[in-house]
């Protein structure tokens, strides 16, 4: 790797001080530190430090997203084939899926990175690794048929309004990827809501129909029967062979990622456990006391858990440490309320059936308050020392 190091050392002068490309120093630095972990001697106590840094922290979130992404690409291709009446094999599905999904991811990264570099240049700070995650999370929450310019607008909004106006990673109160999604969701509802999105091979228009969450039973049919009629049996939802946003369909792949994040303790288990508990509790309450058999009130906890983007959101979005609370007690409450609001919004709000995004964003806003309450409580329990 000596040669690579030499290249970096040689080109460093162009990017620093009065070099021609001094404005792009943040980009240069970010690239260099990816390849060569920077050396820095400790100056203050303690003199030894843990080997985990933010680069690795964020990279691990990316690793946890790999199964979801790969399955998302495959499923997109496979659905596209079905939409055109062809059953594609594994490789073909994958290739067709890449054709739709890879450009979305690329646009998200390139445009987002552009803003990151711009702000890093103006504010003279380093490019934060948090963007690596935002840049991939956002595309995974989108339908494969989304126009690329909407992806670009969305990620711009997410990075600027969701993060940079607050001062960059670590200071934002909302999850930037979700902010970006919310922007696209409210700005271009036609591309984003109520319907599902299957690219059609060759044709410009995608097919559309109801997502599992928008399914409502006809006549006296129960919701469960209606769902399985539409192909949303629990088994299909678990493995992910249903149409939906790129990364959100497969419960199995999400659980793989969740497991990885929990084992490495990158994600806080309290948020995830609290979220699932909240969802199951609320779903059961609605199931027991709800009336309308044809609506999601009667879907029961398992369907609520598996359908839509709840698991994806609670695993990858809600556990974003910046926008989640920092105290353990607040994390339980935070997670639980996300689960609660997800079901409540699904059941009670007919316009925006997918409640996860709204629930997480809503709780993001309350995270500092929860923290504040927990801290105040803990302070009151402490033996004062002033």
């Amino acid at each position: 790797m000596k040669w690579l190091k030499r290249i970096f050392d040689k080109s460093e002068k162009h990017f620093s001080g009065s070099g021609k490309l001094a404005k792009a120093h943040a980009l240069f630095d970010a690239t260099k530190t990816v390849f060569f972990h920077p050396l820095r001697r400790t100056a203050f106590i303690p003199f030894l430090r843990d080997c985990l840094d933010l680069k690795r922290y964020m990279t691990f979130v990316l690793i946890s997203l790999v199964p979801v992404t790969i399955f998302g690409i495959y499923n997109t291709g496979y659905r596209a084939g079905l939409g055109s009446g062809v059953e594609l094999d594994l490789l073909d599905s994958f290739l067709h899926g890449s054709y739709y999904v890879i450009p979305i991811i690329l646009v998200s990264y390139v445009v987002g990175l552009f803003w990151e570099i711009l702000f890093a240049g103006i504010r003279k700070h380093k490019i934060s690794e948090g963007f690596l995650v935002t840049g991939l999370l956002f595309p995974l929450t989108l339908p494969a048929t989304i126009p690329l310019w909407q992806v670009a607008l969305g990620i711009s909004f997410g990075v600027i309004i969701g993060k940079e106006v607050f001062g960059g990673t670590g200071r934002n109160i909302l999850n930037p990827a979700l902010t970006a999604r919310a922007f696209v969701y409210f700005s271009y509802p036609v591309s984003m809501s109520g319907e599902i999105w299957i690219p059609n091979l060759g044709a410009v228009d995608g097919m559309s129909g109801a997502t599992p969450l928008a399914v409502a039973a006809q006549g006296n049919q129960s919701i469960l029967a209606a769902l399985s009629d539409m192909g949303f049996a629990l088994k299909n939802l678990f493995w992910g062979f249903v149409p939906g946003s790129i990364g959100e369909t497969s419960v199995f792949c999400i659980v793989l990622g969740m497991f990885f994040l929990l084992v490495t303790r990158i994600a806080n288990f309290r948020i995830i456990a609290g979220g699932i508990a909240g969802l199951i509790f609320t779903a059961i309450v609605f199931y027991l006391f709800g009336e309308d058999p044809g609506s999601w009130i009667k879907a029961g906890p398992l369907y609520h858990l598996f359908a839509g983007s709840f698991l994806f959101g609670i695993t990858f979005m809600a556990t974003d440490p910046v926008s989640a609370p920092g105290t353990n007690e607040a994390r339980w409450i935070f997670g639980f309320l996300i689960g609660f609001f997800t079901v409540t919004i699904r059941v009670a709000n007919p316009a925006f059936v997918e409640g996860t995004m709204l629930a997480i964003l809503f709780m993001n806003v309350f995270a500092p308050l929860l923290d504040h309450m927990v801290v105040k409580y803990k302070v009151s329990k402490r033996i004062p020392n002033v």
Binding site: P189, V190, M192, G209
Partner: protein, 250 residues
């Protein structure tokens, strides 16, 4: 500058702040203000009422295609068009036109255009997803073909349900039937998705839905059906024997 003024105020202070003065000043101000408001309100009342009336007429005219929704029309034109072509009547639940108001009477507008086309307009007042949807549904005089639809007020989500006020959606209704091929009343509904994907026999009874606004469509369909069921005797009357404005005038 301001300090000077404050000083002036200070000098004048004790005088203008005496209790008597306060009361006098308050009374005077109230008097002048109330006079002003009263005169404005009464003086302009006629204009305002006329405006409201015109607005209503405009929407009725839009429903039966007498007025192009894209073009602006002056108040005078609207009033002229309305008086020339529209007549407001009451019908009893059996579908007969009545002269005096009775319980259960329904409002109905009859229209007759210069080109001889005539028909009737039913006011629609239904729930939407977020609030009330008010509008007018116009029929040809065969008592089964919709000739137009206009939305008067609504509070649906802009971009989703809000599309019901867009021209393409309203034009959609033109030519649809409220009875099926067996001549049975089925109302006109909003499809989930495009009409072209529906079975052939249903296509005349449905209009293209707004994507992403399934529920607005559902509520509007239900509302229209309910209103039309109420008005069914009127439609039946029209199907058997067409009512005309002129006949009424006689």
């Amino acid at each position: 500058m301001s300090e000077q003024t404050l000083e002036n105020q200070g000098l004048k202070g004790p005088d203008k702040n005496s209790r008597l003065n306060v009361i006098k000043f308050a009374l005077l101000t109230s008097l002048i203000c109330s006079l002003l408001i009263t005169s404005a309100a009464t003086g302009l009342k006629n204009f305002q009422l006329k405006n409201m009336e015109t607005d209503r007429k405009k929407n009725i005219l839009k429903a039966c295609d007498l007025l192009d929704s894209q073009k602006k029309a002056s108040k005078k034109q609207i009033n002229q068009l309305y008086t020339a072509n529209i007549k407001e009547v009451m019908v009893n639940p059996e579908g007969k036109i009545i002269k005096t108001h009775t319980d259960g009477a329904l409002k109905l507008f009859l229209y007759e255009k210069n080109d001889g086309k005539s028909g009737y307009i039913i006011p629609i007042n239904t729930r939407g997803l977020w609030g009330k949807i008010q509008g007018y549904l116009a029929f040809e005089n065969d008592g089964q073909t919709v000739s137009g639809f206009s939305v008067f007020s609504h509070s649906e989500t802009p971009g989703l349900g809000g599309e019901i006020e867009s021209t393409w959606f309203q034009k959609n209704f033109k030519g649809k039937k409220i009875i099926n091929s067996q001549n049975k009343f089925v109302s006109v509904g909003i499809a989930k998705g495009k009409v072209k994907n529906l079975p052939k026999e249903d296509r005349y009874n449905y209009v293209d839905g707004i994507s992403g606004a399934t529920l607005t469509g559902k509520y509007l369909s239900e509302g229209i059906k309910e209103t039309l069921t109420q008005y069914n005797p009127v439609s039946v009357t029209f199907r058997q024997k067409q009512l005309r404005i002129k006949e009424q005038k006689e």
